[in-house]
């Protein structure tokens, strides 16, 4: 059965990185993690090398049987002929696939602490391990991008003040009106300011426009129009989407739409407005009887948006897992992306939607989201095609440190993997209970 499924997986895999003779290979990690820390190299240099792995760079080509070297938490080298420094911690990963760490773009609070995650995160928590097991390395905690740095409090916070939530909802027409007025007034101010700058030298009588009133909502509108912040709003129905897209197009500000379930009904409008969309392919919404055109949810939403040039990120909603064995991995991010593939989105676009596109939306693509030299060494090493339902994360690396090792944790170590046939979990072992919180 498993073999049949595997053959299927191979057919589905565009890259065909997994060869049959590699299946029996047992993953060996050497030298021991402890030894790696006490490296013979200079004390300030911390190396981690992953060898023999198929590297999915996401922003560049896919490299087979390559080595990825991380030094002091950054990707230092990658390719077929990388010299591994002495004392480097090495992961031999023949047959495995390496992807960038996944980025959870929707706000969630299950993986890191509230408030300032740098000070409040329990770095040994079950939530964090669950996230890492699901391949996440960066999450949107409130409005802060945080990393899942299991076992370390260094480098948790990646970026603060990610997106500016706009008060623009169909349920609250009054604030919609206020927001539009604020944009209009601030745009007038910016035009006056431009004129003043132009005439300053020629006409001594021009006065700088008054800006004392620019506070609160106006301040927000000003930052938005100047491109200093990216706005975000939750919109799902055709009507809501049309409204907000026309506004963004008219005033020309950057906008991220969360949800966009009926985006497929107006992909052209969304593309022209220059908005990005965070979609959850498994989300459902019924068609509306009031419109004389097709509405409701479709599995093709992500594909249609992508084909029309709307940048998309895929989110699994607020939770990566729910209680019980069945739900805990079905709600992982790659599963959600696989749904979009089922609706016609190309594989590589689905992977981008949970890595680099998500990082771009959060404004952290300079650090994470793809495998590039100089970026943070945040990556996952998985035992097959990332989007295949049988694929497990074997190692998650955050800031160049092994943050999760499937066979050293009790969440998923008992489940079979095609690359680890010889490994049997200890007899006295049972899967980790998630308790009532999950």
């Amino acid at each position: 059965m498993i073999r049949t499924a595997l053959a299927l997986a191979l057919v589905l895999m565009p890259l065909g990185g997994r060869a049959a003779e590699e299946h029996g290979n047992k993953a060996v990690e050497k030298p021991e993690k402890q030894a790696g820390r006490k490296a013979e190299t200079k004390p300030e240099d911390r190396h981690l090398a992953v060898t023999g792995v198929t590297v999915h760079t996401v922003t560049g080509p896919t490299i087979e049987e390559a080595t990825v070297l991380s030094t002091n938490g950054k990707i230092a080298a990658m390719g077929s002929h990388v010299k591994i420094p002495r004392g480097a911690e090495t992961i031999e990963a023949e047959g495995y696939h390496l992807y960038p760490g996944l980025v959870a773009v929707s706000p969630t609070f299950n993986f890191v602490g509230s408030g300032n995650p740098a000070d409040s995160t329990d770095v040994f928590s079950l939530g964090m391990t669950l996230g890492l097991a699901g391949g996440l390395t960066t999450v949107n905690a409130g409005n802060t991008a945080a990393k899942l740095t299991q076992g370390s409090v260094d480098g948790i916070v990646l970026k603060t003040n990610l997106l500016e939530t706009l008060n623009y909802s169909a349920r609250d027409p009054a604030s919609k009106r206020r927001f539009r007025d604020a944009l209009e007034r601030v745009r007038g101010y910016l035009r006056d300011l431009e004129q003043y700058e132009r005439e300053k030298g020629k006409n001594p009588e021009t006065k700088k426009p008054d800006d004392k009133w620019i506070r609160g909502d106006y301040q927000k509108a000003l930052q938005l129009l100047k491109g200093e912040v990216v706005g975000t709003v939750s919109a799902d129905s055709t009507r809501e989407l049309r409204d907000i897209c026309s506004l963004a197009g008219h005033y020309g500000f950057r906008l991220v739409i969360q949800g966009a379930r009926e985006g497929w009904t107006l992909p052209g409008e969304m593309a022209r407005a220059g908005v990005s969309a965070v979609v959850t392919p498994r989300d459902r919404v019924d068609p509306s009887e009031e419109t004389n055109r097709e509405t409701g949810a479709t599995i093709e939403n992500a594909r249609i948006l992508h084909e029309h040039g709307v940048p998309i990120a895929i989110s699994a909603g607020r939770y990566i897992s729910t209680s019980g064995m069945a739900g805990r991995d079905l709600q992982h991010l790659p599963m959600e992306a696989a749904y979009a593939v089922r609706g016609g989105l190309p594989d590589e676009e689905a992977v981008k939607a949970i890595t680099i596109n998500a990082a771009r939306i959060l404004g952290v693509d300079d650090r994470v989201g793809s495998i590039e030299i100089g970026k943070d060494a945040d990556f996952i090493i998985v035992d097959g095609d990332l989007l295949h339902y049988q694929t497990h994360v074997r190692w998650t690396i955050v800031n160049g440190r092994v943050a999760y090792d499937r066979l050293k944790d009790t969440l998923f170590d008992h489940l079979p993997s095609p690359l680890e046939e010889n490994i049997e979990p200890p007899v006295d072992h049972w899967p980790r209970s998630l308790g009532e919180d999950w």
């Binding site: 602490g113 509230s114 408030g115 300032n116 000070d119 409040s120 995160t121 329990d122 770095v123 040994f124 928590s125 076992g151 370390s152 409090v153 260094d154 009790t410 200890p426 006295d428 072992h429 049972w430 899967p431 980790r432 209970s433």
Partner: protein
């Protein structure tokens, strides 16, 4: 006196010279209560003769003798000879241990919660020994207890007391250690950082005031030199200024020969007042010894967050750690980190499961093996657990912890955490003669405490003995 009498259990008598009939009884040699009476006489050397004496300093004497003079241990050995008047306290077949030390308790105190920066508080402010029933502690063999201030955050100082004895001499240390809980790092990290930063500002404030004073002083002296000095001043040798009470902020101007002209500068520098809640941190930053910081952690992550703060301030170091959430095996994650720094770690003696397996593990043993010095706390702050403390510790010995480490974890290491290891915690020369008499091996669950001695006096005795 009457109050004390009511408190001590039946069969124990307060030292009173007028008790002639009882002294007579002693002379006649009623062996069981003899010790009680003899111990009351401070001028006489007391020798405890027991089946076995465990010093907790690495020695076991079988049989053992402890020579006590003026309430302190003079000699410990198997065969000790002592000239002069001697009274014996005989305990054949019994084991004598140093008194147990309970390093954090709210026994008998109100429970309430306080948060934030409370570093100036002391537990001794709320301890009224007369109102606390210490019998359960004595019954468990505890001779020293450190009461802790309540709440979380920078809670204030723990105060260590003898559990019996002269009420005037029972306070061993008002500020044994400063208890800081890190159980909510999201709040407590900022609190700690702020406290240290504010202390730095206080130091800066004092420095500035001193510089200002020195400058004014110099100016005044320069002025004085310009004008011819008064003849009578020349004759007198310079005297050190009389000590002033520190509260006297505006120093009255000194009457100089030409005081009418220039505003006088005080001869002695009076530093501006320091916020008492910041004083411990000021002391630490200025390198004054005596402030011990003990951090209460509720999980391994708290240690990493604490280190994250403390690495910014190399002068601020942890004296020790207490680990709450006794049943959490997660502390194994930081065992090596704590071991590397040879930390003093207090925790409950509990055997837990390796998560999601049926394997048992002993976090205390792992910490000890990693290099920590471990101290035991009761599983909960209740009399039942005080009584069960030896038994719980015995379970760990059965699981592989060494006897020596276990007995130290009840005596010497908690004394170290309190900064009192020079006075209590083991039976060594010069230390307080705080002894527990047991009718068997200390780690046998059937063994009971028969007598307790504090500073050379028997203060408690089992009722049916």
């Amino acid at each position: 006196m009457m109050e004390t009498l009511q408190r001590v259990p039946r069969g124990v008598l307060p030292p009173k010279p007028g008790r002639i009939p009882l002294l007579l009884g002693l002379v006649l040699g009623i062996p069981l209560i003899a010790g009680t009476r003899v111990a009351g006489e401070d001028d006489v050397t007391v020798i405890v003769r027991a089946g076995r004496v465990i010093t907790a300093a690495g020695e076991i004497h079988e049989p053992g003798m402890v020579v006590i003079e003026e309430g302190r241990v003079k000699v410990v050995g198997s065969k000790v000879e002592h000239p002069g008047p001697i009274r014996f306290v005989d305990a054949p077949g019994e084991t004598v241990l140093p008194g147990l030390v309970l390093l954090a308790s709210r026994h008998g105190l109100e429970s309430y919660s306080l948060g934030g920066l409370q570093a100036a508080r002391k537990a001794s402010d709320e301890v009224l020994l007369e109102e606390i029933d210490l019998e359960p502690l004595l019954e468990a063999g505890i001779t020293t207890v450190a009461f802790i201030p309540p709440g979380s955050g920078i809670t204030g100082s723990a105060s260590a007391y003898h559990t019996a004895g002269d009420s005037s001499a029972r306070l061993l240390a008002g500020k044994a250690y400063l208890r800081i809980s890190m159980d909510n790092p999201g709040t407590h990290k900022g609190l700690l950082r702020n406290a240290i930063e504010s202390a730095k500002k206080e130091i800066e404030k004092v420095k500035k005031a001193r510089e200002e004073w020195e400058k004014k002083r110099k100016e005044a002296e320069a002025k004085k030199k310009a004008t011819p000095p008064a003849p009578e001043e020349k004759k007198e040798p310079p005297k050190p200024p009389p000590p002033r009470p520190p509260q006297q902020a505006p120093t009255p101007p000194k009457k100089d020969a030409d005081s009418g002209k220039a505003p006088a500068v005080p001869e002695k520098f009076t530093p501006p007042k320091i916020n008492p809640n910041l004083q411990p941190f000021v002391d630490i930053l200025e390198g004054r010894p005596g402030t011990r910081l003990v951090f209460e952690l509720s999980g391994p992550s708290d240690l990493l967050h604490l280190d994250d703060v403390l690495e910014e301030y190399p002068k601020v170091k942890a004296h020790g750690y207490t680990l709450s959430a006794a049943y959490s095996s997660d502390y194994r994650e930081v065992a090596s980190s704590l071991g590397e720094r040879k930390a003093l770690v207090a925790l409950a003696p509990v055997i837990t499961q390796v998560p999601y397996t049926v394997q048992m593990m002993s976090v205390p043993a792992e910490l000890a093996q990693a290099g920590c010095e471990i101290a035991f706390l009761p599983r909960s702050d209740s009399p039942g657990e005080y009584a069960a403390l030896r038994q719980r510790a015995a379970e760990l010995v059965r699981a592989g912890l060494s006897r020596e480490t276990t007995l130290r974890a009840l005596t010497l290491v908690p004394a170290k955490l309190l900064g009192l290891d020079k006075r209590i915690g083991s039976l060594e020369k010069g230390k307080e003669a705080d002894l527990v008499f047991l009718d068997g091996d200390p780690l046998n669950p059937l063994t009971r405490v028969t007598r307790v001695m504090v500073s050379g006096r028997i203060v408690w005795e089992k009722e049916d003995s």
